[in-house]
Subunit: 219 residues, 2 copies
């Protein structure tokens, strides 16, 4: 039978279609938020119709949750170059991670924003499932950073002792807040400046590598 590959219109590829919906949702919701983005808009952006939408997702919120999960996987794969870099020490890997984050601010025509922070801010108080989904993603990021900090604390000389998980949450919060403030200020440079201070903060936890010039107090 002739395959008749020239099948008019649309390829049938449910996984890809589902991903098209997720991509569209991410693109639109990062800009307009959850409530500010309609299902019709998402369908138009994905080049699909509403029937298809509700075939793949049982609700708009379900799609947003899938989008947050996808965002988390995507992020982890981007951070992996730093997180799983076995040929570098823990502090160096933290530096690499901060460089990756800084790189997010330098993409032409693309804002440095986060789907998790966006959905969390808007929906955490009213949509428990979404709060849980965002909490999971933030926890995962924090776990990875805490792991590196723990390693660093074992291998290097901490100036004062610290709780790796606490510091990791500190960095996560700074990162989320930087993107938020950068948005209101319209300045990605502000985000980079914060990341530089974060690097100084992390380095300052350890006496070892970048020895700070100690200023003797005269008085």
């Amino acid at each position: 039978m002739s395959k008749k590959a020239a099948t008019r219109s649309r390829e049938r590829d449910p996984a890809a279609t589902r991903q098209r919906l997720i991509d569209a949702a991410v693109r639109l919701m990062l800009k307009q938020g959850f409530a500010g983005t309609s299902v019709d808009q998402i369908c138009a952006e994905a080049g699909l119709t509403k029937g298809s939408f509700f075939h793949h997702f049982e609700s708009k919120e379900a799609l947003a949750e899938a989008a947050v999960a996808w965002w988390g996987r995507m992020g982890s794969s981007l951070y992996a170059a730093a997180w799983e870099n076995t040929s570098a020490g823990p502090l160096e890997r933290l530096h690499q991670m901060l460089d990756i984050m800084s790189g997010f601010t330098r993409r032409e025509g693309e804002d440095c924003v986060c789907m998790v922070g966006m959905m969390s801010q808007e929906l955490a108080a009213t949509h428990p499932a979404m709060q849980a989904a965002c909490g999971r993603e933030l926890q995962h990021w924090t776990d990875q950073v805490a792991r590196l900090l723990t390693e660093a604390r074992e291998q290097l000389q901490p100036v004062t002792d610290f709780d790796p998980e606490e510091v990791a949450w500190f960095l996560n919060s700074l990162w989320q807040g930087s993107m938020l403030v950068g948005k209101a200020s319209g300045s990605q440079a502000l985000i980079r400046a914060n990341l530089q201070l974060a690097r100084d903060f992390v380095d300052g936890l350890f006496a070892n590598p970048p020895v700070l010039p100690v200023v003797h107090q005269p008085s």
Copy 2:
């Protein structure tokens, strides 16, 4: 022709009515966001009708802008105890400010959230007027903190030189991010831990008051 003035005697107090609308908007939008809150809901919460709403505000966005401005004034008045405390040194005033912020996490039954961060996250990318309004509030907070840091830098001995405005933005971002992450994690204690680290960070800028125990590196 008795007019029958059995008028339901609603108080006629335009300023108070306007404020009732602002209060209602703040209460609802802090929880549900801007797009997730309808004008009808706001009117119901304020005990008014839509006609009255649009007499005082020309649009829902105009009310949200007024609410952000009110939130800023409210915040400034709460921080004033620290910011304008002439009987304390700059570093002590920064400590007092952090204590005030920490106090926001301890209010019974009330989440530690920020109208400016909320509106900024949701609307900055699509509503230029709102982005500007939020940017102004964040800038004002930063200015006050930078002022204290500048004073502290003059009076105390900075370990290494720093840019007060940069550090102020760092603290502002951390604060906003802490509220965001605290929301997703459902933990106000997380916010307090971040504020403690922020205090350590600020103290660490100066060699003077809380001398850090220096660990000599053996290797």
